[in-house]
Symmetry: C2
């Protein structure tokens, strides 16, 4: 059996099944971050993301933007759990002939984003590798009351996204803005039931959220906010948008829709377990198939 | 300028120079672990290590032993700071044609070591990559009073190692035992001034320790404990021994030598800044050149 068979998510589930987990762990494998005991009032949030040349970026991409992305995708995971990023470790795999200037620019892009979000780079590792490989491990914290997981969505909740979607392959995947501030506003002022960042594409990530919550979702095609020049297909499936997808009850949804929050309602949580439907403007519906990015 | 020029350690120093670090950070880049604020009585210890196929292991090595090593090297870093490992994230880069059984055996080896040392695997990431790549990020904790860094060695201290050295290339690099229990004994009962794990080779790692401490060292050739069949050259330089090298004052050194502790005194800390000498049985000495493993 080759790896394409169980696939990326199957493999992560198998790892979860194999791994013994201490009772102190609040949330292990299966959310945007692991949640660990912190202080009296806070949890630790912990995530890692590995980017590999020719898979997630090319050598022709500006290294500063690649470095920025490598840290940014993890910052986005911390945001999706309602937390603040704090500390990063950076493991680099580098081909032996690579120019030192390339690596320095990678660091510079990373540093710029680190400064913007108050992240301290506290260590790392460097190894030889056949392709440029960047694994960032990021620690953050969240007030216990503000922790949001994928698993809290309830039937009747309204589903929102924090910004326009699609167009990542046209270069937007290197220039996204992690939504830490937006998430902080949300968890401070609204009762956010569930949240996830859109890394694999809305069609895939809404599926992750409803499966974790034991619910279903109806997405309204005409509500899905696409970037100018991006069609619905790409807005639903491109991935690497790093906008947040979240759910709130109807009262909070009304409050959110009244203000100039820049958030877009895109659908509603249903009690139809594990079913995601796409509804067009005439009210016709079809199954929304997850066509987002997978590695295998 | 190619990367061989500033080299691995130069690059890590440059990253340190670029990286802004919050005041709360107890110790950033430059030790076996980063040290971060924890609870009232403890610090968090944090480390990561990236292993890459054809650099750190081959596809012919048993995957369970490779998985064991991938976690073990980080466990060893936590031990070297006087701490206990707690939580791990595992980022995997995998070639697309790899067998699922290979990955499962990798996990099994990792799990076995995780259980032995009470480590919970709480998350990870899987990506496509041209070579099998394993980056383990490990969090541990240490009682504040028991924290040991590389930087505390004092002239007159006796230098010890926790076990026999050399022979890693003959396969021992896949079968080492992280010295968590030994380190816990040491920090609980003795005043350990400085400690480091021997990953690059004694000749390199004693250099890291004395530079961090602003001291020098004399190593006595006939005291260096080698595995049977391993000559002095290999015992000094092979690396990946993952024994601990530590220093204590003479009183504690006498206590350590009297007991059946299995620890070996190998030399003495001097006030000759940044100088490491190798002294033979006739008392002749020469400069001990760091010939340990480097990636570039």
């Amino acid at each position: 059996m080759k790896i394409g068979n169980p696939g990326e998510f199957g493999l992560i589930r198998r790892l979860a099944a194999l791994a013994p987990v201490a009772r102190a762990v609040v949330k292990g494998i299966g959310d945007d971050c692991a949640v660990l005991p912190g202080t009296k009032d806070t949890f630790l949030l912990w995530t890692c993301d590995m980017l590999v040349e020719r898979v997630d970026f090319t050598r022709r991409d500006a290294p500063a933007l690649v470095g920025r992305k490598a840290l940014g995708v993890s910052v986005s995971d911390i945001a999706a759990c309602g937390g603040i990023p704090r500390y990063a470790l950076v493991a680099l795999g580098l081909p032996s002939g690579i120019a030192a200037a390339y690596v320095q620019n990678l660091y510079r892009g990373m540093r710029k984003l680190a400064q913007e979000f108050g992240v301290s780079v506290v260590g790392g590792d460097i190894s030889r590798a056949p392709a440029v490989t960047i694994d960032v491990s990021l620690l953050g914290e969240v007030r216990k009351k503000r922790l949001v997981l994928r698993s809290g969505a309830r039937p009747g909740d309204i589903i929102f996204v924090t910004g326009r979607l699609g167009g990542s392959l046209a270069g937007r995947h290197l220039r996204f803005q992690p939504r830490v501030r937006e998430a902080q506003q949300l968890v401070a002022r609204y009762g956010v039931h569930a949240m996830i960042d859109i890394s694999d594409g809305l069609s895939s990530d809404v599926g992750h959220l409803i499966r974790a919550s034991g619910v279903g979702a109806d997405i309204y095609a005409e509500l899905v906010p696409a970037y100018p020049g991006v069609n619905l297909e790409h807005a639903l499936n491109d991935g690497e948008d790093f906008e947040l997808l979240f759910t709130v009850n109807r009262t909070d949804a009304r409050r959110l829709s009244r203000g100039k929050t820049g958030f877009f309602p895109v659908g509603v949580i249903t009690s139809e377990k594990n079913k995601v439907r796409l509804i067009d403007r005439r009210g016709d519906c079809c199954k929304l198939v997850a066509r987002g990015f997978t590695h295998f």
